[in-house]
Symmetry: C2
Amino acid sequence: MATIKEVAAKTGLSPTTVSRVINNHPYVDDSKRKKVLQAMQELGYVPNSSARRLRGQKTNTIAVIISRIVNPFFSHLVDAMERIAGEKGYQLILCDSRLNKDRELAHLELLKAKQVDGIILASLQNDWEAIEPFTKYGPVICCNEYDIKAQMPVIRCDQQYGGYIGTKHLIEKGHTKIAYAGGADRIQLTLDRKTGFLKALKEHGLTLPEEWMFPSFYGIEDGKNIFQRIYAMEDRPTAIFAGGDEVAAGIIQEAKRFHCRVPDELAVVGFDNQPIADLIDPGITTIEQPMKLMGTRAMEMMVDMIKNKKKVTYKKEILPLQLVVRQST
Amino acid sequence: MATIKEVAAKTGLSPTTVSRVINNHPYVDDSKRKKVLQAMQELGYVPNSSARRLRGQKTNTIAVIISRIVNPFFSHLVDAMERIAGEKGYQLILCDSRLNKDRELAHLELLKAKQVDGIILASLQNDWEAIEPFTKYGPVICCNEYDIKAQMPVIRCDQQYGGYIGTKHLIEKGHTKIAYAGGADRIQLTLDRKTGFLKALKEHGLTLPEEWMFPSFYGIEDGKNIFQRIYAMEDRPTAIFAGGDEVAAGIIQEAKRFHCRVPDELAVVGFDNQPIADLIDPGITTIEQPMKLMGTRAMEMMVDMIKNKKKVTYKKEILPLQLVVRQST
DNA sequence: CTGAAAGCGCTTACAG
DNA sequence: CTGAAAGCGCTTACAG
């Protein structure tokens, strides 16, 4: 691979001038600029990224940490981020924590090693105490997940409201026995969602037995599993609010297999409004999360923070959520 | 951020020795090693990635080029790659070509800029002539898509066989009027699949009218569109072989909306065996592609090529495909 | 086992 | 408008 020196030698100019041409610096004689451009072309010269990074102290690379790329929620989020990053001239490093704390921490080290200019946390396995030390090495923002104590910018949805409207919808449909399948309480996002759920129940004087709460479930198989557990109960709920469309889809599919009619015998509400919610039969009533918008805004904010080094005042953007009614309720 | 010099100063040793400790070099006095380790700990020292890259001429980063991350096929492929990359100590840069030739070429430049050690092409928009010049700057391999003329390693599935067995299955079910929805002929993968399709037809003396061929379709919306076009035909096919489960799902959903019974009035075969194939009703008969295996093997091969600089002899791995029968046929 | 020195390939004051 | 020189932070022969 040709270096800047070779281009300089070929043109009889100095590396400094070649560098100026590469970087579109003004004050370069036009005929010389042309000569350099041509030499670069002929040599197939491309500036060495590592040298530029070392010298310029920036990488034009951003890392995004997610917990499971095969979850359509995350793939849509990442899709939006990748698009904006590309437009702004940044590369995207995909980091999958696979719900593991240590792996998340290892990915955060990229910032200390100056391997990335910033990190977007779309999943959050560690407490703010563990994340905080990294924030002095560069911008770190939350997108989607969040921690109430965290002193960092965040773009997220109003999860409590989402939990509330989904539950309210079920109650309005006449349900009084409503089960809940969400994530762990240590995750603020799922905790808030549950708080909204409980708030709706409370407003209507409803309670729920311990066994109707299913913590920490994520995929289709988990949904199937949940249905079986519900089906085996003496006192069954007539509706369930699931923490994701994949879980909801699993519940519905398994219900069909056991000839349990949805929504007549069991109404189901999902979360996300993934493509699958509209494809399966019955369609899943769900809470739409604006993944594209969230990914776009997060990446725009990150690039903005990188470019305007001055610490952006700790920003918070909360996006609206809305109910999409289909046939599962 | 602390540098190696500061660690050296703090311990009273030379940068050379500190470097040796960082790199687990033998021949370092044990007590000195401990001192260095402690100083690094206290200073929160992490080696600067750019400096190491520049000096060592390697980046420990690999780029994967796909065409649409929200396609579950690609997200599963990328998931497998990310896992192996992490295990082997590599970062993964996600590059989405969005089916655009120029964007693909721009991503290949990463290799010339020495910003990555190698590139895995899981999507292929350009001809071999356009790709070839990049191969002298580092390992480039194909995974999934391929070009018959390409002189580079490839891990792929036997697409022709896939097209053949899917069609054969429909013929065995008694169909003689079979439509086909695949990608463009300029893509070798889809061309081979079509060749397999046509081979099966030919073996049974079947032909198909021009209007039963739907080129270049990818997503759910395209599937819906295709169904409508079929539905409007005077002489309708009784079965269709779609180039992906998303397209098949779109066809099935739209068929339901028009009260066209699947498989009785229209049998549908998909491709990939994505989760959705098992979730929608009727389940999609499809050709299973081993995405996890393909992604894993591709990343293993890439790391192997990077580590053993000697040009690996142009390798070719063809993975088996198999029919998964569900209710859509 | 240890360290001084060179150099990876750039960019940026600085001086002209 | 142009160039010589320094330096970003490492690692690796080389010499001891």
